[in-house]
Symmetry: C2
Amino acid sequence: MPDQQTIRDGEQSVETDHPTDAALRFIGRINTPWRRRADCPRQGRPDGPECTIEIFEPWGPALRGLERYDRIEVLYWLHHSRRDLVLQNPAHDGQLFGTFALRSPVRPNPIGTAMVSLVALQGLLLTVRGLDCLDGTPLVDIKPDRCAFSPKAPPKPGS
Amino acid sequence: MPDQQTIRDGEQSVETDHPTDAALRFIGRINTPWRRRADCPRQGRPDGPECTIEIFEPWGPALRGLERYDRIEVLYWLHHSRRDLVLQNPAHDGQLFGTFALRSPVRPNPIGTAMVSLVALQGLLLTVRGLDCLDGTPLVDIKPDRCAFSPKAPPKPGS
């Protein structure tokens, strides 16, 4: 659902219906230091601040074994984003990019993905580094960074 | 919604309501050689077969500039997966893992993510390598592998 955010020069929105092809359930809440979008880093950094992820029941048992991983993938719902822009002017300089050529939160299905470092896992609370989203962002999924049946590897260089 | 898939020894499901905290719209269709789940590779490989991704209108203009990227992230909906398992027995050997410690398609929000090589982009059709999903899988999102405003980098070693 588009919100009241302004469209910048040249940006293009499309008319869309609002189908529910699939329904997401929020499974947790992400706590970060960033309360306004303007404060969020453009991309998470491995040396960024510690953030916490709180898992809601009944999903607690699904965390079993996650502590074996140094790096995990986090999927979250960018709940303040409009969904109807196909062209965006991200640098405010008139240069237009297609939405799929950007990692902007504004997209048809505003799902963010981040590979983060798992610092600690205690009960239903994960501590991680590497996020870039707003405080209060709804959690959609957590996965290891690689298939469970490959051997444990060190973090990839540059990742 | 759980389907009729069998639960293996020790696996644990939970009672969940089925809220629609957020609604996804499918924005395309993924075409792969794999017609049955048993045929899908466990994880996509950079030297895997070419697959195509068809983008539905009105999202075509959102592809502008994507051709600058060698690697893109693909998000898709694992439409045949049950959503209520918290513990899984993936190797059929009695060893149980939490759902969040697996990249299994069975999860509360069955969204798959893959980093793939972009081989070609023509009109509304992308050709990629590195997918592992079923033919006909609904597309949810496409993003570049990194922030648009970082310099163009070669593919990461080992990724």
